[in-house]
Every structure is written in C-alpha cells, then in structure tokens.
C-alpha cells in the first residue's frame, strides 16, 4: 500500500482533510506552522482517527541558510523554536554554521528538537484531546505522539559557509545522538536525507552521502532533494531512482519522499518508496533556498498529472469535452461555467485530493511496470491529440506539439526512466 501524507502549511488544509479522512494516511506539519497555530493544529491532530499518523518536521535547515534565516528572524515562531531547539544563534552568530558547531552544540540542538516532538507537541495534543472529547465524539483514541521522531537536519550542500561534508557530519551526529536519547523508548526515528539538487550531478559525493546514511541506525528515511521538481527536471529523476534503490537495497527501511508528486507514487508502486508527502495542491517540490510565495488558483489536470491555469484547463476541456474530469467537484460545473471552479477553492482542492486518491488506487491495482508505461503513454497521446485536434497544416501541427511540449515532456521523461530501469527494479510489490 502506498502511504499518502498531506503536509499542512495553511489552516484551510485541515478543514479540507477533515472531510477526506479516507483519502490519506498521515499528515506532516512543519514545526514553525505548529508553533504558529498550536491550539488549532493540536485539536485537529486530536480529532484524527487512530489509523492516521502525524509527523512534525523540525525544519532546522531554516536556521542555517543566511537569507532564509534573516527573512524569518522577525516571525514570532522563530524566537520560540530558537529557545526550544537550544540553537546557538545570536546577533553575533545569526545563523547555524556547521563549521562552528561543536559536538556539544549538536547534542544540545538534538536534545531540544527531540524533546519538542517527544514531549512538547504531545502535551499540546493531550490538552486538545480533552477538549475534543468534550465537544465531539472521538472516533477512537488518536495517537498523541508522532509516527516517527525526526532528528535535526541541515541541507547537504556546498554552500558559501561550509562544504557539503560538514552538513553531512552534522546530520549524522544528530541522528546518532537521537538514537542514544531514544534508546529505551518506543519512539521510532525517521532520518531525513536532505540533498541540494546541484549535488545530484556529483556521483562520488552522492555515493558518499548515501553510504553514511546506510550506516546509521534508523527506523525509516525521509528523502528530500531540495529544488528537484518531478515535472520540470524529470531528467534528474534517474539519479533519485538510483539513490532510492541503493538505500532500499542496503537498509530495507521504509522511505518517504517528503516533497513528491505522481512520479513518486509510481516509485512507491515499484517499492522504491513507501510513502509520498505533499500539500493539497502545492509542495510537490521544495527549494530550501526559496521563500514560498503566494499561490493562485491551480487546477490539477488528471491527464498530465500536473497543474494548469484555469484558461489552460478550459482550452483542453473545450477542445475535447469528453475528457472533462468526472469527479463530484468538477461535475458541479458545466463547461460554460467551469471557470467558476477557480472561485471556489474548496472544490479546486477537493478535486485535487479526489484525483490524487484515484491515481494512487489505480497504481495500487497495476501489477506490471509495462502497464504503468502504457498508462503514461496513453496520457501523453491523449493530451497531444487534444491540443492538436483542429485540422491544421502539418507545419502548424508540428509547431503546436513543440509549443505545448512543456505540458507532456515530463510524461516522456518518466516513460524513458521506467523503460530503462534495471530488471531488478521493475518488480511491483503491493
């Protein structure tokens, strides 16, 4: 079974998820989001059925990238997490630099980060649980502790501050200390492997990083290639696949892609991943060095497994009305008023959740990699046929294919990656 985690970055997300409990397995909340909306999110976690899990992402990397740290330093959560995580940040040292952190600093930070997830967050949920029991009928006994405890981590990169090896050392030391802290406890550890995209091109470095992670004691891994987008940088996915294969082969531990999309669902059906996390209609990739910007309405296109502008999807649906999405949320709008779905965020987001679940269920039923390839080929041909449906001279048709290539190029790349997988990786295990 593919485990689907939704990241909660906006308060509207929890209301949408409450009505879709059967469509996900867990949630991931960034610590700064939890700190900001502590009561409301604790109440939400307390209201989840026991089958649903949660994770708190400590987002420690946000304290180690100068521009990002500076940007967030005035936010109320910044000072709170600074204190809770025992971060040695001051006016003189405004951000974490792995080169200047002693072993004792790393231990202190890990103590704070682990305590936050092991004690502080559960205490908040425990409090909320009393209120939920009072106001609502609890569905069961929800878990007040995270599914996994995540040790602190920094983005592994050759930055202006330090070479990649120093960030790697920090992460590994933090995992080791987390293990000693949680030695006799029932808590499980999820170690995050956060690699900056440019490093992917250095095979030796990647191999060293993965080797280090395979040696640590952990219950699961969370993979994050900062800046890697499954749609726009599909060529780099081959490297991700190789990383996952190596990690899986050597450790046999569950791996969750912390920011993934449809391609990650495919990798889950190939048993290279065990879970995929993303937001509702956002965060299918994340660049640690960029500040998240405001999101306009985007429609998830079930044919391309990617997001469209409202005029983009209208062009597609009006060119071929038979392909219009048949989910209950899209059904509310006929083609003549379909643009109004952009004014109803609830319908837009529910359509995404419905479609993502349908994609997941479809992949779970597939028993051969060739069927996945056929599915992608069908989708690619479908979108090309729709966009070149009008009778035009051959040169114009070729031009249309070229202009609209960004709509389907990722499907071609995904097909190629799947076709070139070594036979051992082509097994589908459900």
């Amino acid at each position: 079974m593919i485990k689907l985690y939704y990241r909660i970055g906006l308060m509207r997300d929890k209301d949408i998820l409450k009505n879709n409990l059967d469509k996900f397995n867990g949630i991931i909340i960034d610590a700064h989001v939890f700190e900001t909306f502590k009561n409301s999110l604790s109440a939400f976690i307390a209201s989840l059925p026991p089958s649903h899990t949660f994770l708190i992402d400590p987002v420690t990397y946000r304290f180690s990238i100068p521009e990002i740290t500076l940007h967030y330093s005035k936010k109320p959560w910044f000072a709170k997490l600074l204190e809770r995580y025992n971060l040695p940040i001051s006016e003189e040292d405004p951000y974490l630099n792995p080169l200047s952190l002693s072993d004792s600093d790393i231990k202190d930070i890990t103590d704070g980060v682990i305590k936050y997830q092991k004690k502080i967050v559960p205490a908040n949920i425990q409090n909320a649980l009393g209120l939920v029991a009072f106001f609502e009928h609890p569905i069961g006994t929800p878990s007040t502790t995270p599914e996994y405890i995540i040790p602190p981590y920094l983005i592994i990169d050759d930055s202006e501050l330090a070479p990649y090896s120093e960030y790697l050392k920090f992460n590994i030391k933090a995992i080791k200390h987390a293990n000693s802290l949680l030695k006799n406890s029932p808590h499980k550890i999820l170690s995050i492997i956060p690699i900056s995209k440019p490093l992917l091109l250095d095979e030796v470095v990647i191999s060293k990083i993965i080797d280090e992670y395979t040696k640590v004691k952990t219950d699961a891994f969370g993979i994050w290639i900062s800046g890697l987008n499954e749609i726009t940088e599909a060529r780099l996915l081959t490297i991700l696949v190789a990383i996952l294969h190596k990690l899986k082969e050597s450790t046999k531990k569950p791996i969750i892609n912390l920011y993934g999309g449809f391609f990650s669902l495919i990798l889950s059906s190939l048993n290279l991943l065990d879970g995929v996390a993303h937001g509702i209609g956002y965060a299918e990739s994340r660049n640690a060095y960029e500040l998240p910007g405001p999101l306009g309405p985007r429609y998830y296109n079930p044919i391309t497994h990617n997001f469209e502008t409202i005029e983009g999807i209208l062009t597609i649906y009006m060119n071929d009305p038979s392909v219009k999405c048949k989910c209950p949320y899209c059904k509310k709008y006929d083609l003549k008023n379909f643009e109004n779905i952009a004014n109803n965020l609830n319908d837009l987001l529910n359509h995404f959740i419905y479609t993502r679940t349908a994609e997941k269920e479809k992949l779970e039923k597939i028993s051969s990699i060739n069927d996945i390839i056929s599915l992608l080929e069908n989708d690619k041909n479908k979108i090309i046929n729709i966009l070149t449906k009008r009778k035009t001279p051959p040169l114009f048709t070729a031009l249309l294919k070229k202009i609209y290539e960004p709509k389907y190029a990722h499907l071609e790349s995904w097909i190629l990656i799947l076709k070139n997988l070594p036979p051992a990786m082509k097994k589908i295990i459900h």
């Binding site: 306009g296 309405p297 502008t309 409202i310 005029e311 209208l314 062009t315 009006m318 060119n319 083609l335 003549k336 643009e339 952009a342 004014n343 009008r390 009778k391 035009t392 001279p393 040169l395 114009f396 031009l399 249309l400 202009i403």
Partner: protein, 146 residues
C-alpha cells in the same frame, strides 16, 4: 520617437483599431482568475468578432507562443512589433505566419498592417463565447465610464 517599451505602444495600436470602429481593451484577462493577459483585445461593435494582439519589441518565438494561446478564443490574431523587427519577422518566418494565419502589425509613428491575419484555425467557438461574456461586461463598463 520615444524609447520603445511594450506598454508605450498600446495606445497606438488601440487607436488603430478604434479608427476601424472596434472597441479595445488593454491588458485583458480572459478570465477573472487568469494569470495571462492579452496585450490588446479588439472587438467589433456587434460584439461578435474578437481580435487579439500581442505586442513585443523582439523575441518572435515567445510572441508566437502567446499568439497561439490566443488563437483558441480569437477570430483573428496579430503580432505587433516595431517596424524594423516586424519586417525581419515577415521575411524570416513567412511560412509559419502563413500556416498559423497570424497577422503582423508594424509600429512606427503609426501602425500599419504588414500581413493581414486569416481566420484562426484553432478557434473553439464555446471558449470564444465564454470570453465574449467577459468582454461584454468590460465594454459596457468602459462605455458607461466614457
């Protein structure tokens, strides 16, 4: 002539279509939540014929991409360039312009039509009708405001 900037050229083109008895809308969003905007949209007084104009100083391939996106809801589509570049485009890309039916406007002190457009081969009538409702609303507001 003033240093060219795309929006500086809009009034000249609007005037060109207004003289031909068209309403014009600049920076027109086809839908309320659209990200993209049509530089100039001209619509005849019976509100039945849509002409889209994309204005660029250069970069034909970017302009062509935008023009093709407009072809799905416009009866006719023009690309407008400063006169020197407009002539280059006409010579260099005549085959593409002919097969796509995109017209070319040349801008100097005044606007002239270097190549008339043909009917859009991609037009989706339902999409055009949908956008006409937005246009009607905007035109009536513009009329009322003078």
């Amino acid at each position: 002539m003033k240093r060219f900037k795309e929006p500086n050229l809009y009034p000249l083109i609007s005037k060109y279509f207004q003289n031909k008895d068209f309403y014009t809308l600049t920076n027109f969003r086809p839908f309320e939540k659209s990200y993209s905007r049509v530089d100039i949209l001209a619509v005849d007084k019976t509100l039945s014929k849509i002409i889209s104009v994309e204005v660029k100083l250069n970069n034909f391939s970017k302009a062509l991409k935008q023009a093709i996106a407009r072809s799905f809801f416009s009866d006719y589509v023009y690309l407008a360039f400063p006169s020197k570049y407009a002539k280059t485009v006409l010579n260099k890309y005549s085959q593409i312009l002919n097969c796509t039916n995109i017209g070319i406007l040349s801008i100097n002190k005044y606007v002239s039509e270097l190549k008339p457009p043909g009917p859009s081969p991609l037009l989706i009538p339902d999409l055009k009708n949908l956008i006409l409702t937005t246009i009607k609303r905007k035109v009536s507001i513009t009329d009322k405001c003078g």
